[in-house]
């Protein structure tokens, strides 16, 4: 991951729920109470880059500054939905960089089940994305514009990583068609 990778930056900016383990003076504006101290035990959504730092820095040997919770996009409810049918879940509405977020969260939590579900989800959805990338291109050649009716819903729910896969598959099959078309003209 590069320093200037825009997807990495956006992933870092996604919010995760945290609970503070101490009183913080003057930080009440985080919980929409400006000017007051932030009491112990307040739940606040913090961006991932900040939460990660705070979660690993320790207050006393046994407690850290904040406690991280699983973000709602990786909650058991979502996991169950993904287990039932990976293709029907709108990942984009959960988190634009869903897999990036999941990857970072998995580094912090040891969640074997979540890891399994996510690997399976990625595989199934990537296969589906590949099929769509090729068929959409074929349709666009004839009709112009994004073809395909039933796939639109699925494609709209792709996360940023899946869109990248789609783009790659689509570009390479398009390059192939262009080459074959050029052969015809000669």
């Amino acid at each position: 991951m590069s320093y200037y990778d825009i997807d990495a930056i956006l992933t870092d900016a996604q919010k995760v729920p945290c609970t503070f383990n101490l009183n913080l003076p003057q930080l009440g504006y985080l919980d929409s109470a400006p000017g007051r101290p932030l009491p112990n035990g307040t739940k606040v959504d913090l961006p991932l880059w900040l939460a990660e730092r705070l979660a690993v820095s320790q207050l006393t040997p046994n407690t850290s500054l904040i406690t991280l919770d699983l973000p709602p996009s990786l909650s058991p409810r979502v996991m169950n939905a993904l287990k039932a049918d990976p293709k029907s879940v709108d990942l984009r509405s959960l988190a634009a960089n869903f897999y990036g977020l999941a990857e970072r969260i998995l580094e912090l939590f040891e969640e074997e089940d979540v890891c399994d579900v996510l690997l399976e989800t990625w595989r199934v959805r990537a296969g589906e994305v590949g099929d769509h990338a090729v068929s959409t291109g074929a349709g666009a050649k004839g009709g112009g514009g994004a073809g395909g009716g039933e796939g639109v819903e699925f494609l709209r729910g792709l996360s940023e990583e899946e869109r990248e896969i789609f783009r790659r598959a689509h570009d390479s099959s398009k390059a192939m068609r262009v080459w074959m078309g050029e052969m015809k003209k000669k």
């Binding site: 998995l106 399994d116 990625w122 099929d131 192939m176 262009v178």
Partner: protein
């Protein structure tokens, strides 16, 4: 990263590389031997067949100085058998590449390492029923530049399209069939150059996604193994998730 170039080759580059393949021509005019970097070409005497590189053959063909003989696997009967193999005999794996012309034995010889671009897989005496490394681009080039030399060209064209569809969907299907752990990478034996170029971006992207999602588990396992003090299996665990 800074270069906007993608990894791998574009279809045009693959087609360019394909022009190094040797093909058999039947010359219509005499041509003395040419001293090329790859060695002298055979002297072309009208009724005798001669193997020359595809680019030279295309040049002579365009000037109507030679006819190109299609390789045996490009005939419709051979392509039909390959298509049948792809769809019925082995609906999951790709049809095998042509057998190595020099038998590989336990005694090592220099021919053991000669690989498809340097093996004459598209001359008139190449084995039928096997798709060589450059099958797709060679077939396309043949149908464009020397279509009058290919018998039943419409049939051949259709069969090439069918084969491409079948094999590309196999390639995408191999992603779905990948196992999360321990399943390894799908088998790619027999895949042609153009198919690699077309599938590369997508397959590499998917595998990279799998790797990144599984990386936390990989790290955990490495740590566990390091704690157990076993350096033993470190190396063989380098494979994909």
């Amino acid at each position: 990263m800074a270069l906007p170039l993608q990894a791998g080759l574009t279809p045009m580059e693959v087609a360019f590389l394909c022009e190094m393949e040797m093909v058999t021509v039947v010359p219509r005019q005499r041509l003395e031997s040419l001293n090329l970097l790859s060695g002298p070409t055979p002297i072309l005497r009208p009724p005798h067949r001669a193997p020359i590189p595809l680019w030279l053959a295309l040049l002579l063909k365009r000037q109507r100085r030679a006819n190109i003989l299609p390789p045996p696997w490009l005939l419709s009967s051979s392509l039909e058998r390959i298509l049948k193999y792809e769809t019925e005999t082995s609906p999951l794996a790709f049809s095998p590449p042509p057998p190595h012309p020099h038998p590989v034995t336990s005694r090592s010889s220099p021919t053991d390492f000669v690989s498809p671009p340097f093996l004459p897989s598209s001359t008139a005496d190449a084995p039928p029923d096997y798709l060589p490394y450059h099958w797709l681009e060679l077939g396309e080039i043949f149908l464009e530049a020397a279509s009058d030399d290919v018998p039943e060209q419409d049939r051949v064209r259709g069969l090439l399209r069918d084969l491409r569809e079948v094999r590309m969907s196999k390639m995408r299907g191999s992603i779905k069939g990948l196992e999360g752990e321990g399943g390894g990478v799908s088998k790619m034996t027999g895949v042609g150059a153009m198919e690699v170029a077309e599938g590369r971006g997508y397959i590499v992207g998917v595998l990279d996604g799998l790797r990144r999602l599984g990386s936390s588990r990989e790290v955990a396992r490495r740590e566990r193994e390091a704690e157990e003090g076993g350096e033993g299996s470190e190396d063989e665990e380098m494979g994909f998730e």
